[in-house]
Symmetry: C2
Subunit: 260 residues, 2 copies
């Protein structure tokens, strides 16, 4: 196993999440761990940053070769404050985010704080991986298979790192280790949420709206999407880039749009 | 000028922003306007969604062929609640977001609520455009050139719409109309923020951290990036996709990573 000097961990379920303990366990054999995690749960925070009020950074706890900090902001704030206050001269060799209590496949990538933190790592040129367990947000989910397969992926990552500026998104099916059929490189699937609000009436007669919804899979038959790999008991691994320019459309529109 | 039935507007600076008034003025000649804007300023909210508490939706004001609502959530929440509560059977013909008080070029795309709302429109298959004025967050910025050039872009968009699922990001230089050198199709530039925190000590002796920073342009000589186009007095127009899979890296890693 390749040894690293410093590993930075964060998540979006907050410092107390079981998935963060599992991520620590997954990565402790690889090197010294620094955790900078949100004080509060930050699900659905995407790449949000905190602009209107200042942040605080507190030491939380220490164990052998493991130190934990709490940041009062978002997952991306956690990465930024770690890089600017704790790793000013010695960037970490790996940034890992998660393990999220819930899948981050398909268009969930847009909303995911777990993957927002991993994307942020790319801006600092740190190898960055986000881990998500496809459990329906069970706080007591079983992460033992995630730890086993996560280590296999990190080992391959360190042996043969990506050559492009990407972060890796790993989605793990919520089943027992022996039921998992393997690890597959895949792509981001297409889909969206429908019927997104549960409208209720408050005791004073006024409506309020809970965000909820059902997932509509727009590629139910494609066997190489993150969503379908996880649905079929595979661990899905997708490399993601930050540049979202649609180059073909750019060239096309450049030829036909006339601004004279 | 092509006429539309329904146009949905939102922004991330909140219902009271001057940039939202400018967007209304830009688009009123094209059709009936429905505004669903955040109650509070939501800068830096990216594609964040509100999960831990419910949303409220209020009617704010009406004018001829213009109705405004306030939503208590993020820009993406505004789009979602508009689509699920106001446009259930008749999707809008255009979604426009902005005009943001501040540029949304390069890696700012990650954090932008303005573009988070435009990206969300793609999930509903609505033609979606985000507008941003490269002003240093001046609340009283001059949007007159933005209105002029924005209309030109919308006209071309409606004449020759993109054929791919993209949203368009428009960044406008903060100069007078006659100083603007034209409109250019470009790509998302590479860069990141550095020195991101202003550390201060509170009256009780404890540190706190304001997010701030300077932009580091990693492609200062590329004349086709959003950042450099705006810096050189052009209006930058970039089509963006939601799929961030790095396909070449996926194929490469599929061949060399060995999970046996």
């Amino acid at each position: 196993m390749k040894k690293l000097k410093n590993i930075l961990l964060t998540n979006d379920d907050g410092i107390g999440a079981k998935g963060l303990r599992a991520l620590e366990e997954m990565l402790r054999p690889f090197g010294k761990i620094t955790v900078v995690a949100p004080k509060e749960a930050q699900s659905g925070m995407s790449s949000a940053v905190t602009i209107t009020h200042p942040l605080r950074l507190f030491e939380h706890s220490q164990e052998e070769r493991l130190i934990r900090y709490i940041c009062t902001g978002t997952p991306v704030d956690c990465v930024k404050i770690a890089m600017n206050q704790l790793f000013t001269n010695n960037p970490p060799d790996l940034l890992a985010s998660g393990i999220n209590h819930g899948a981050n496949t398909s268009s969930a990538l847009l909303y995911s704080g777990t993957l927002g933190a991993a994307a942020e790592g790319v801006l600092y040129n740190i190898p960055s991986i986000g881990f998500s367990l496809a459990t329906p947000h069970n706080p007591d989910a079983d992460f033992s298979a995630s730890i086993y397969f996560g280590r296999k992926i990190v080992e391959q990552y360190l042996l043969h790192p990506p050559i492009s500026p990407v972060f890796i998104s790993v989605n793990l099916p919520d089943i027992h280790l022996e039921q998992i059929r393997g690890i597959r490189l895949g792509r981001q699937g297409k889909g969206a949420w429908i019927k997104e609000f549960d409208k209720r009436i408050d005791p004073h007669g006024y409506p309020y709206y809970w965000l909820t919804g059902a997932y509509r899979n727009d590629e139910p038959d494609a066997m190489d999407t993150d969503q379908n790999l996880v649905d079929h008991d595979y661990v899905s691994v997708v490399p993601h880039q930050l540049d979202t320019t649609h180059y073909a459309e750019m060239e096309r529109l450049r030829k036909i749009w006339n601004f004279a």
